[in-house]
Amino acid sequence: MSFDDVQSIWDSQQTPDGPMDRDGVLLSIVEKDRSLSRISTITDIVGTGTLLFVAAMFLRDPVLQGHDPVLIIPGIACLGAAGFVWKWRIDRRRRQLSFDDSLMGLINKSVDGLDDRIAHMNRFLWWFACPNLLGLVIALFIVDESKRYLLYTIFIPAFCACIGLAYWQIQREIRLKLQPEKERLEDLRKQLAREE
């Protein structure tokens, strides 16, 4: 037997006659695409909104009542962080995988994309933590003695818990999803690049 026999078996197959429900397929993919983009939009809006809210809290006293002007610094830092989150979103949309490349090119792009995403996720935490930490440190110096206990009992523990949980979640996401995915792609790239 020769390879022509294998080829003739392949050529003998017929495209299934059953109609492909094109409208159904189209509807389902558009829905899937929308639901994916809805999730990332909501996440970005919540992240940006939280930072804007915190910025407003920091800026309220110095801007509206004219006291504690030092709080303008963490307020501006929060606004900067909100801008960073939104810029990250724009960059991510620009970076979406383009298919005008070979399989090898696509794999390389995916690996780069994953590296970039891991770096961004690690940086993201600092962008959240630093402005808030700055605000808390300043608050330690300027808070009324009568309200100092609120810092120690509510704000500092809440900040530590939020940042700790965010750090844990980000590292978990990297360890369980992104890193294995990157290793799989690198393995695939090795397989593809292997010269016979």
Partner: protein
């Protein structure tokens, strides 16, 4: 390109390249459920790729590129949960085309190859030239030639060894 044109283009491609998509999904997914899942993923990626499509590349090459990338990535994610070797010994596929045992047998043998060789085998059996395969996968033509020779020998040997009894 607006969404309506994009949808129209996809509809047109699905009509003309349905066979290609089904062959790719059949080679990479074992069960009917998995095939539906993979087909949906492939079609989603094809739809997303439409705005970037230029006529410099043949439509079928473009669709192959997107479909293979999606299928290879999908297989590697899925293989964490399913042993690939058992893929084709699982439940019978409900929507398999009119049963031709020889074609089923060939798909089983293709499924035993690693995802890259599987892609090469598909492209070769569908009659793409070395040049087109090399462009699609990003390998040198020489590498494509060497690998395809090995795959041809493997498939022929399997047909020789098993085909006589099974088919």
């Amino acid at each position: 390109m607006n969404k309506k044109q994009q949808d129209q283009k996809l509809s047109d491609w699905l009509q003309r390249h349905k066979g290609l998509l089904l062959r790719v999904t059949r080679s990479f997914a074992a069960t009917s459920h998995d095939r539906d899942d993979l087909l949906q993923e492939v079609v989603l990626q094809v739809w997303r790729s439409i705005p970037r499509y230029t006529s410099k590349v043949a439509e079928s090459t473009w669709i192959y590129r997107v479909a293979l990338y999606t299928a290879v990535s999908w297989t590697r994610k899925e293989s964490k949960h399913n042993d690939v070797r058992n893929e084709f010994t699982g439940e019978p596929v409900a929507d398999a085309p009119a049963a031709d045992p020889r074609v089923d047998w060939l798909y089983e043998k293709i499924a035993e190859l690693d995802p890259i060789d599987r892609s090469l085998a598909l492209l070769m059996l569908d009659g793409l030239s070395y040049r087109e395969i090399s462009d699609t996968l990003g390998l040198s033509e020489n590498n494509v030639g060497v690998r395809l020779n090995r795959i041809r020998k493997q498939l022929t040997a399997k047909l020789d060894r098993e085909g006589r009894h099974e088919l």
